[in-house]
């Protein structure tokens, strides 16, 4: 069986769905962050698949950008997580409601 673009897209879709669901239902900061990473990587997979298929390097270049941004996002997110944990002794996002109107 040859691996066509459809296979890539299905894996990408599944990854994205798992990530999106994780963001929606998990209450732990760390898990949410990891879910976001999943979504970003799903997008990367998508971009690279199309890049291969269309013989256009832009998609690959773009995914390198996404990886870079993801690294920055992860760093900031983890920093926020740590400082949040220090303040509240918990990682539950439901508790983060002091700014709630």
């Amino acid at each position: 069986m040859t691996v066509t673009i459809n296979h890539y897209l299905i894996v990408s879709l599944l990854l994205f769905a798992i990530g999106f669901l994780g963001v929606l239902v998990r209450r732990n900061f760390l898990t949410i962050l990891m879910s976001i990473e999943l979504m970003l990587n799903a997008v990367n997979l998508n971009l690279i698949a199309f890049s291969r298929r269309l013989s256009n390097l832009t998609g690959q270049v773009f995914s390198v950008f996404v990886i870079t941004i993801a690294a920055g996002e992860a760093a900031i997110g983890l920093a926020l997580t740590i400082s949040y944990f220090r303040q509240r002794k918990t990682l539950d996002v439901e508790q983060a409601h002091t700014m709630q109107g």
Binding site: F20, V23, L24, V25, V93, E94, H97, Q100, G101
Partner: protein, 724 residues
């Protein structure tokens, strides 16, 4: 070299930055080590109280001492070299023919196009102010003596302030002063001049209040600052006037425009000149605003020499000389300048006669000499005024530094009644002081003889169309003041250096000659106060070199012929003889009353006219009058008056308005309650029903929002895929 003139002011600025940062740094570490940096200050009893104490160990205690000295003196020394380099690069002869060099750093304030005013008077419609420096003959003259005297006084300070805790602070302020003064001198437009003008005012304040632990020094600083504000207020109004009238502040453009087409500007120029002169009065300590200068002696003596005698206080004269085109077109303003100058000269000289503090005598002498310079400007003799500014810078700096050396020797004593017989003990100081005293007294062939003689001759030949007899009166005042000057200076000299020592035994044992860093500047300045007069020798052809040098500044005005006075040589000689005779009488009286008669005659005179003596020795109660009228009268009494006015008159308006408002508001509230409120409540009720629906959606949970967003996206994509 000429393109480097921008670096001349910036060098001392860099020095200020380095010295200031180092001082802060050392101060902070000191503060951490000893708990409190400020309290470890040995508060000096007077200006130089610390001199009385031991020498030696203090040296090692001051952190970065050698760096402060090197940076402080080095930056000014370099600036001085650059200044002379630039001046000789252009060349003295070229200056006399009107050469100048402008360096524009950047466009400082672009004001945009003003069509309303600029074009009416034929000025440029595009208004802007450049950060620009210009070196022409007038600024070259100022630059030369400001940097040179400044350098000498920095060197002197290294010796004089050697035992002071705030050594670094002192040098950083002094460098900042040099920066501001050089901006003032080199500025190519009114605003640059004003920046320097305010900068030197600030530094003057900082340095007068150098011994800020002492309330009199802090108060004197504040007094100087406040009195100068009054003058600066007039000055900046004058600058606004110039901008409104000409549409530019650049000196060359403004003066060329005024000289080419005087009739377009003359009605306004009188007002502008008077406003500018108010500024000059403040900075140069002229009659109504002179009160700060004698009090400014609370600062260290080298500061008095540099700022309050040689350079800053002559800024007013420089400004008036710079604006000579304006003043020549405003004869009424010229009369005011001349009369204020002559009155100040006489007034301050009479006070100087009875002062007993060595620095106060010199301070009043400075006020008096500044009056002389303004008198010169007032009669149109601007180059003669600047000539006296130059010679005065040398001999007055020499006198002040000499006084500092005397105070240093006496361990902080300033009262000349407790001195006497110092000539043999501090011979170098004595000789230089004697030379400077002979100079200021107007002894023939020394510097001030030529410069004062030039002023007196100009006053004698002056013509005022409005008041024809005025020049004669002014001449008499000038002549009498010259006699008074000779008298009080020789009184000072004989009380300080001649006769027998009148202080305590400890003081007598302590008296010692100052170190070389102090005596060398004294010798250089004494030498200059002898020879600097030879740039302005009268009668001889091409003798008046300084007049020729400054000639390009005096632009020829269209329709106003220059009236050069060509008096016969015999008359010139007679005027000189009169001046010398008056000076001789002054010197003789001082010598016979104080040196020979040991003060018996003046004591008897004071007894005979106690009222006069009391008035003069209390400085004519001017400070008390200002306190009564302005401080207590206007500030406090005026405040009460305004309160009364407020309570009775002004309040009528709000009270009446209140009654009207109450009536109107009753009607309004009726309308409001039933018509407006009905509408408002109706709308509100309708909205309340609506928002109950939407507010459920606002849970404040990001995950809910993400879910809605995902759902929405899904719906949109589904619709797109299904119906495309």
């Amino acid at each position: 070299m000429r393109h480097l003139i921008w670096a001349i002011p910036l060098l001392p600025l860099a020095g200020f930055a380095v010295n200031g940062l180092l001082y802060l740094l050392s101060h902070r570490t000191q503060g951490e080590a000893h708990g409190h940096g400020d309290e470890s200050h040995a508060a000096p009893a007077l200006d130089h109280g610390a001199h009385g104490g031991g020498h030696g160990d203090a040296h090692s205690e001051i952190p970065f001492r050698s760096v402060h000295t090197a940076v402080g003196i080095g930056s000014v020394g370099l600036a001085c070299l650059l200044a002379f380099g630039a001046i000789f690069d252009i060349g003295l002869r070229a200056f006399a023919e009107g050469a100048s060099h402008t360096v524009t750093l950047y466009r400082w304030i672009p004001l945009g196009v003003n069509q309303a005013v600029g074009q009416v008077h034929g000025g440029t419609a595009d208004w802007f102010v450049d950060a620009a420096f210009r070196l022409d003959s007038l600024s070259a003259l100022m630059l030369a003596f400001v940097t040179f005297v400044g350098f000498l006084i920095h060197v002197y300070s290294a010796g004089y302030m050697a035992h002071e805790e705030g050594y670094g602070r002192y040098f950083s302020y002094l460098n900042l002063f040099m920066f501001a003064m050089l901006v003032l001198v080199l500025g190519a437009n009114f605003l640059m001049l004003f920046v320097g003008w305010e900068g030197v005012g600030l530094c003057s304040y900082l340095l007068i209040g150098y011994y800020y632990e002492k309330s009199f020094a802090a108060d004197a600083g504040k007094k100087a600052f406040v009195v100068n504000r009054i003058g600066d207020f007039g000055f900046i109004l004058g600058i606004f006037g110039v901008l409104a009238l000409f549409g530019t502040l650049d000196f060359q453009t403004v003066f060329a425009a005024a000289a080419a087409n005087p009739s377009a500007y003359t009605p306004f120029l009188t007002l502008i000149c008077l406003l500018l002169f108010v500024g000059a009065c403040g900075k140069s300590a002229q009659f109504p605003l002179y009160v700060w200068l004698p009090d400014a002696m609370a600062g260290p003596t080298p500061v008095s020499a540099l700022i309050h005698a040689a350079t800053m206080v002559t800024a007013g004269v420089y400004m008036v000389a710079r604006c000579n085109v304006f003043f020549r077109l405003a004869p009424e303003a010229m009369i005011v300048v001349a009369v204020v100058g002559a009155f100040t000269a006489l007034f301050a000289a009479t006070i100087g006669v009875v002062q007993n503090d060595i620095k106060k005598v010199l301070a009043y002498s400075t006020v008096s000499q500044l009056g002389y310079m303004f008198l010169a400007c007032g009669v149109g003799a601007f180059s003669e005024g600047m000539f006296h500014v130059t010679t005065h810078a040398f001999f007055k700096a020499c006198l002040f530094l000499g006084a500092g050396s005397v105070i240093h020797a006496m361990g902080g004593e300033q009262d000349i009644r407790k001195m006497g017989g110092l000539a043999a003990k501090i011979p170098t100081t004595y000789r230089t002081f004697l030379i400077a005293t002979l100079t200021i007294a107007g002894v023939p062939f020394l510097a001030a003889f030529f410069s004062k003689d030039a002023i007196k001759a100009a006053v004698f030949h002056a013509e005022f169309e409005a008041i024809p007899w005025l020049p004669r009166v002014l001449y008499a005042v000038a002549l009498f003041t010259a006699g008074l000057t000779a008298f009080y200076m020789f009184r000072l000299l004989s009380l300080t250096f001649w006769g027998t020592f009148r202080g305590t035994k400890e003081q007598e044992a302590h008296v010692h000659e100052s170190p070389a860093t102090m005596t060398v500047p004294l010798i250089v300045l004494a030498f200059l106060s002898v020879v600097s007069g030879y740039v302005g020798v009268p009668i001889i052809e091409h003798g008046d070199r300084i007049g020729e040098f400054l000639k390009p500044i005096r632009l020829p005005i269209a329709g106003l012929p220059e009236k050069g006075h060509h008096a016969p040589i015999s008359l010139e000689l007679a005027l000189m003889a009169a001046a010398v005779a008056v000076a001789a009488v002054g010197i003789y009286l001082a010598w016979s009353w104080y040196a020979k008669g040991e003060g018996r005659v003046p004591a008897r005179l004071a007894e005979q006219w106690p009222g006069v003596y009391r008035a003069v020795s209390n400085k004519y109660f001017v400070d008390e009058a200002y306190d009564r009228v302005f401080v207590r009268g206007l500030a406090i009494g005026g405040g009460r008056f305004l309160w009364e006015v407020d309570a009775t008159v002004v309040d009528l308006i709000p009270n009446g308005a209140g009654a009207v408002t109450r009536g109107a508001s009753w009607i309004a509230s009726f309308f409001d309650q039933y018509v407006v409120d009905g509408l408002v409540n109706g709308v509100a009720n309708a909205l309340q029903a609506l928002y109950g629906l939407f507010r459920r959606a606002q849970t404040g949970r990001v995950q809910n929002y993400a879910l809605v967003m995902g759902g929405g996206l899904f719906c949109l994509v589904a619709v797109y895929l299904l119906f495309r």
